[in-house]
């Protein structure tokens, strides 16, 4: 569908598409996976140079002053190219730190990753969350994406009846990390905090300010990942369309069969709805008028749609789709990984239900 984007959005989207096409792609993603490199460092260097890490930071704080909608357009494009970078995690953390008095200076030159469990990310095993007592952090935070690649973590913790936002160096004493490798080659780690001392300036925000920053940061992670996942689904459907227009059986292109046509049309219809959903939610979020249920809805439905799209994609590719050699499998695995990240369809739908149930 045609879009109503402003010039700035088109510029950013096209720049991301160009970067993705030049640096990313399924072959590159496979290579990174096989060489156990979670982050595409070449692509990452370009992203850093382009200043996208400060995309969400206000101009008053020397950022690009863009909205989450704008950045999500870039993420959708990098999703289409399976570009393996912690763009949303780092951009969200950079924004959060810029909203604090001391955080930005403290984090200068460091790759900061949020170690925060988002609402709707249920099934968190033995996670306890974090407590901040007598200047030290205790507890566990599960499933921290890109933790293995972080220089520092941004965490929230309960401190009595208030909350704190802290910046913790990766090599802090008492911080342990257990990584899990995911099917797309990315990792997530359980972070253990055993009385990790935080310096006074390491507590970058307290109370309502800390909670407000953490809440927005969580939304950014969920919506940014949803955008990337939508891009993966769109690319998988596009690849499949190309294939069924080419592949011949029974003396005809298999794309001429109505059974296949209707199935892929369903993927198209679903992606159209999900794109509108995501863009409308993002636009409302930037305007400060979104409802928390909308964020859960976007991740739930884009997860559902993407998994359906890659299932159909694999089926329509037939046996070649089951090989590691073919690109469609890369999209399949990426979709599985991003759908599971920051709340899957079941848990985000459950959260949506909680947030909307009492309203009628």
């Amino acid at each position: 569908m045609e879009l109503l984007l402003n010039d700035q959005q088109i510029l950013l989207r096209d720049a991301a598409a160009k970067l993705g096409a030049a640096r990313g792609g399924p072959r590159r993603a496979r290579l990174l996976r096989d060489s156990k490199r979670e982050i595409d460092t070449e692509a990452w260097a370009e992203i850093v140079d382009a200043g996208w890490l400060s995309a969400l930071v206000s101009e008053a704080h020397d950022g690009l002053g863009l909205g989450l909608y704008d950045l999500a357009l870039a993420l959708e494009e990098t999703g289409k190219q399976v570009l393996m970078t912690p763009l949303i995690e780092t951009a969200a953390a950079t924004w959060a730190l810029s909203e604090t008095a001391s955080g930005a200076a403290l984090a200068e030159g460091k790759r900061v990753i949020p170690a925060i469990t988002v609402p709707g990310q249920a099934y968190s095993g033995q996670a306890t969350g974090l407590r901040f007592e007598a200047g030290a952090l205790s507890g566990t935070v599960p499933f921290v994406a890109f933790a293995a690649q972080a220089d520092a973590f941004l965490v929230t913790a309960g401190a009595g009846d208030t909350a704190v936002l802290c910046l913790v160096p990766r090599d802090a004493a008492g911080l342990s990390m257990t990584a899990t490798v995911h099917v797309d080659g990315s990792t997530s780690s359980a972070l253990g905090f055993a009385g990790v001392k935080v310096t006074a300036d390491g507590v970058v925000a307290r109370g309502a300010a800390a909670a407000a920053i953490a809440g927005k940061l969580q939304d950014m992670l969920v919506l940014g990942t949803a955008a990337e996942l939508l891009g993966v689904a769109e690319a998988a459907t596009a690849l499949t369309l190309d294939y069924i227009k080419l592949r011949q059986q029974f003396g005809k292109q298999i794309g001429s069969f109505q059974a296949l046509q209707h199935r892929i049309v369903n993927c198209y219809v679903d992606a159209e709805l999900n794109r509108s959903l995501l863009y409308n939610v993002l636009s409302a979020w930037d305007a400060g008028t979104s409802h928390p249920a909308m964020i859960a809805a976007a991740k739930a439905r884009i997860g559902r749609g993407a998994l359906q799209a890659v299932r159909v994609a694999l089926q329509m590719h037939g046996a070649i789709g089951y090989t590691d050699e073919h690109d469609i499998g890369i999209f399949y695995k990426r979709a599985v990984a991003l759908a599971a990240k920051y709340g899957n369809e079941i848990t985000q739908t459950g959260r949506f239900s909680e947030l909307t149930q009492s309203s009628h």
Binding site: E2, K245, Q258, L273, S276, L277, N280, A293, Q357, S359
Partner: protein
């Protein structure tokens, strides 16, 4: 955390100040003027009973928001049109029938002769004349272009023979706009079709109402035996009827495909679930939430499409997507409504649940038609496959 401001009937409504003022004006006017006994009926309101309400809207100047001002309409923006529709359905008020106002009216405005405009447009606006659409035939449903009702030019009249069917309001209509075959040898077949405006009181027309699965007679079939139609009642060119008709397909989806249709049914499901106890069932909650999320996505697409339409940038793929997504969502909502009612889901009588009167089975039946009427969802999928995705035949 509770959020009491979730309202699934106004999702992504972002009225500007002028639109907001218009919405408030419409809302309070409807509250003062819409007859309460017409609202929230389980069965539809037939055209004769609807006429006084139609007339009131006409007198207020709101009967034809989408018509240009010079033709007697409001010349309203699409947002204003949507607001009018939303505010009427918010209180369960019946919306005026589209056949005159949304189907043939705009076509006459576009392609009619000065005489046709003078004769037909005013009574469409006042509601004095009821129109029906004569497209489907027993042998021509999805393959509409195969239609065989024959019109032969004989001097200054067409002589019409054949049969039309599934005609909404056929038995109430004063006039029919019909697609008829004027050149049986034409290749392609649609080049042999003409649009005629037919006075339903003409000798040779027999009308038989057809009872639907809902139990009301919404549509009818019509038999034409040597019916004489004056040549000046041809709309557009001879053998140009397909072109005329195709100017319409698409834009009417903005009201027939409005997400509020599904939202209203989902809210009924919620109310009846509170009554039956289903609301505490996690399986019900998950299904309800899934459909509410689908509604949110469909509302977003709808707003998106409407705003593109407002900028004159709406692609042709939009209407079939609205038809498929909105129709199937409405169906699933009605199925949830029946399930939420438990053993009363099959009740043939109205259910009184608190302040609400709900008829799950009636909504269930009503929603079956939305994936069939004006082009089945299968045909819509064929259209997307060929014209949007470029898949081969």
């Amino acid at each position: 955390m509770t959020n009491l401001d979730w309202d699934n009937t106004t999702l992504f409504s972002d009225d500007n100040p002028a639109d907001r003022a218009f919405r408030e004006e419409v809302r309070s006017w409807i509250a003062d003027n819409c007859p309460k006994d017409l609202c929230n009926r389980a069965l539809r309101v037939d055209p004769p009973e609807l006429k006084p309400w139609h007339r009131k809207l006409y007198e207020r100047g709101w009967i034809a928001p989408h018509w240009p001002k010079e033709a007697g309409g409001m010349g309203a923006t699409l947002t204003q049109q949507i607001i009018l529709f939303e505010e009427m359905s918010r209180v369960g008020a019946p919306t005026p029938f589209p056949h005159g106002l949304s189907f043939i009216g705009p076509l006459i405005v576009d392609a009619g002769t000065p005489a046709q405009k003078a004769k037909h447009l005013p009574p469409i606006l006042t509601g004095d004349v009821t129109w029906c659409q004569g497209y489907s035939e027993p042998g021509s449903g999805s393959d509409l272009v195969s239609l065989t009702t024959r019109a032969v030019l004989d001097g200054d009249h067409f002589i019409v023979n054949g049969q039309k069917t599934w005609t909404t309001n056929g038995h109430f209509a004063d006039w029919m706009f019909a697609l008829v075959r004027t050149d049986p040898a034409a290749k392609p077949r649609h080049a042999g079709i003409t649009m005629l405006l037919i006075d339903m009181k003409s000798p040779g027309i027999t009308v038989r109402p057809i009872q639907t699965i809902r139990g009301d007679a919404e549509f009818a079939e019509e038999f034409f035996v040597d019916v004489r139609v004056p040549k000046e009642n041809m709309l557009g060119d001879l053998n140009g009827g397909w072109t005329v008709a195709n100017k319409l397909l698409g834009s009417e989806r903005f009201t027939t495909g409005h997400p509020r249709n599904a939202a209203v049914i989902l809210n009924k499901a919620r109310r009846i679930a509170e009554y039956s106890g289903a609301i505490r069932d996690p399986a019900f909650q998950q299904r309800l939430a899934t459909l509410e999320i689908d509604l949110l996505a469909f509302s977003a697409f709808y707003r998106h499409a409407a705003s593109l339409h407002g900028h004159g940038k709406a692609p042709a793929s939009m209407a079939p997507v609205i038809k498929i997504a909105g129709g199937e969502l409405g169906q699933q909502a009605s199925e949830l409504l029946v399930d939420a009612a438990g053993p009363l889901g099959s009740s043939a009588e109205d259910i009184v649940a608190g302040n609400s009167v709900i008829s799950p089975a009636m909504d269930l039946f009503e929603m079956r038609r939305v994936t069939v009427g004006s082009g089945t969802v299968e045909i819509q999928r064929n259209i997307i496959a060929k014209r949007v995705l470029g898949l081969p035949s």
